[in-house]
């Protein structure tokens, strides 16, 4: 399996910052790339963001991440809109599958947050399936509070960390 999020996320963040520096915090249902993106850069095989069939395009224009309210796993209308675009993209690009990663903010106990992250990932997955994505193409995983996207200890970060991130993998 090949993971593409890291570069895509960082690239996405730069892209957004260039467009509108406030957008990541002003939009609580944000479509910004807020996945578990830290670590090393990968440079191969992403394609150009201008290529609608590229993972980079998925990350930047479709939006790979949706956020949730405190202790919630129901999808907001903004989250549903992003997932609808993800579903459309996945249906158009059958060579990619997705793993939806569920995450929680740090204001919970470890086990509960794993379960909560699982709920969030499955909410996102269920919605993708309801829009026609084949069940076999979408897996879920929970990271609980282990992989925050933003590191500060206040709501501006927590609201970005309560998220489900769709990570593309090359289909088999």
């Amino acid at each position: 399996m090949k993971y593409f999020t890291k570069t895509a996320l960082i690239a996405g963040a730069f892209f957004l910052a260039a467009c509108d520096p406030n957008s990541r915090f002003d939009n609580p249902n944000g479509t910004a790339g807020t996945g578990a993106g830290t670590g090393e850069f990968e440079t191969g095989g992403l394609g150009s963001a201008s290529d609608p069939a590229s993972p980079e395009y998925f990350s930047q224009f479709v939006g790979d991440s949706v956020v949730f309210l405190v202790n919630e796993y129901t999808l907001t209308s903004a989250a549903r809109a992003v997932l609808a675009q993800q579903a459309e993209w996945l249906i158009d690009n059958a060579s990619y599958n997705a793993i939806v990663q569920g995450h929680a903010d740090e204001r919970g106990t470890r086990e509960y947050n794993l379960a909560l992250g699982d709920r969030r990932a499955n909410s996102a997955r269920d919605y993708l399936l309801s829009l026609g994505v084949d069940a076999g193409r979408v897996k879920t995983v929970s990271y609980g509070k282990e992989r925050p996207a933003q590191l500060c200890s206040d709501e501006s970060c927590y609201s970005q960390n309560r998220r489900a991130v769709s990570v593309l993998v090359v289909g088999q």
């Binding site: 509960y112 282990e146 925050p148 933003q150």
Partner: protein, 437 residues
């Protein structure tokens, strides 16, 4: 009779120092223990030249163990009027009374190659007599710290009437790196932070290890496959195998039953987390709960008949107790806030838990019917209590706030006193205390 006397004395003297010089040498571990008992632990007498340094080191371990309880206070060597130069000569009680040493621990060691022989005695200085009988331990020089812990356990036990907890170990998660990409490995160490050894590397995220009742195996959660799954690890060989690998689901929060052959854990399928049990062979899976809520963090009662766990079936995280075979669960937590990570005490009388209330995290204890809730700690993030083998001390994770936040291990008495940080080489979380070895 003396026990009864000491108990009555302890009750009468709640507001006073619990050590009464006219009574027998005794500490009742109650809320009344405020003034630590002064003791002297001079270097153990070496029978051969090679053993001199060890004699000092072992006496230091004994003293550090006792002092770490908050129940004892070591009298520094500089205050000693006379030392102990011979293990067999009569003790000059007057010299120890004069510096108010209420307990005196004397020892003698000899080494022969890698063999270590230790003898020790405990004295009630003011009664002018030995407390219990002298004991001898035979082991290896490599295990000298353990031998010190064994001496301290014996002293603690003779003076408090309860079993000790010093000859025990902690399995935990050693943490390095940035908060957003924490590298975690399983590690094991002595209860006091000495002898840290890594049990896994940090290439996969690992969480929440738990000891078997005999301390020889560990259950934990690992992302080795990319998905959280529960594993069983042999402490001696570090060999591991996956226990639950049902496709399309994740498993976590495993804990042993008191028989050492049963595992209770959480399995999440399609967004619903329920409790299951299985054998350590990985077979015989039985579903224990089927609520639409999150059911997790299960812990057996010491007799194995019941399980305490957390569930948000009522709308928020609360504690429940159910039969170990599943069935009707009874809610036991009713205070304000959220309750999680319940752990049954080894004595069976208390449940330790994490509580979240008004933006703070607490470690607390309550009786098994939910009464007499007591919060022992408060901070930005305290969680995941584990019991000392004698049920008197709780260790837990404390994580600091902010982007540079770090996790560390702390311990606290069940009275809420004696909060201490356990020194670890790196960040540390998710401690689990072994049984007494």
């Amino acid at each position: 009779m003396t026990r009864l006397f000491a108990l009555i004395l302890g009750l009468i003297c709640l507001a006073l120092p619990a050590i009464a010089q006219q009574g027998p040498l005794r500490i009742e571990i109650t809320e009344g223990v405020i003034e630590p008992m002064p003791f002297a632990a001079p270097s153990f007498v070496a029978s051969n030249a090679e053993a001199v340094a060890l004699g000092e080191d072992i006496a230091s371990v004994v003293a550090a163990d006792l002092e770490s309880t908050g129940l004892f206070r070591q009298i520094q060597t500089a205050s000693f009027i006379s030392g102990i130069t011979s293990f067999t000569s009569p003790v000059e009680f007057a010299d120890w009374k004069a510096i108010n040493a209420q307990a005196l621990i004397t020892g003698q060691i000899s080494t022969n190659g890698t063999q270590l022989v230790l003898q020790f005695r405990v004295y009630d200085v003011f009664a002018g007599q030995e407390l219990g009988n002298g004991l001898q331990f035979v082991g290896t020089t490599e295990g000298w710290r353990r031998m010190g812990h064994k001496v301290a356990d014996a002293v603690y036990s003779r003076i408090t009437g309860e079993s000790g907890y010093f000859d025990s170990r902690i399995v935990f998660v050693s943490e390095r790196g940035n908060k957003g990409d924490r590298k975690k490995s399983l590690a094991i160490m002595d209860y006091d932070g000495a002898n840290v050894q890594m049990l896994t590397d940090d290439s996969n995220l690992v969480l929440a290890p738990r000891f078997s009742p005999t301390g020889d195996r560990v259950l934990y959660t690992s992302y080795e496959t990319g998905f959280p799954r529960i594993y069983l690890l042999d402490v001696g060989s570090a060999a591991r195998r996956v226990l639950e690998a049902q496709p399309g689901s994740i498993s976590f929060a495993p804990r042993f039953g008191p028989d050492g052959n049963t595992v209770v854990y959480s399995l999440a399928t399609n967004g619903n987390t329920d409790l299951f049990r299985m054998d350590t062979t990985g077979t015989g899976r039985v579903r224990l709960t089927s609520s639409p809520g999150i059911d997790t963090a299960p812990s057996f009662s010491p007799d194995g008949t019941q399980i305490v766990f957390e569930s948000d079936r009522s709308g928020s995280q609360q504690l429940y107790i159910m039969p170990a075979t599943g069935g009707q669960a009874k809610r036991i937590s009713f205070g304000a806030g959220r309750y999680g990570t319940p752990v049954w005490s080894p004595r069976g009388d208390l449940i330790a838990f994490t509580k979240q209330h008004k933006g703070r995290f607490h470690i607390g204890v309550m009786r098994t019917d939910g009464s007499e809730e007591r919060l022992l700690t408060a901070s930005f993030l305290d969680e995941g209590p584990t019991w000392s083998p004698n049920g008197r001390v709780i260790m837990f994770t404390r994580e600091t706030q902010g982007a540079a936040g770090q996790a560390a291990l702390y311990s606290v008495d069940i009275t809420g006193r004696n909060l201490r940080r356990i020194r670890t080489p790196y960040g540390a979380s998710d401690p689990a205390w072994s049984p007494l070895q």
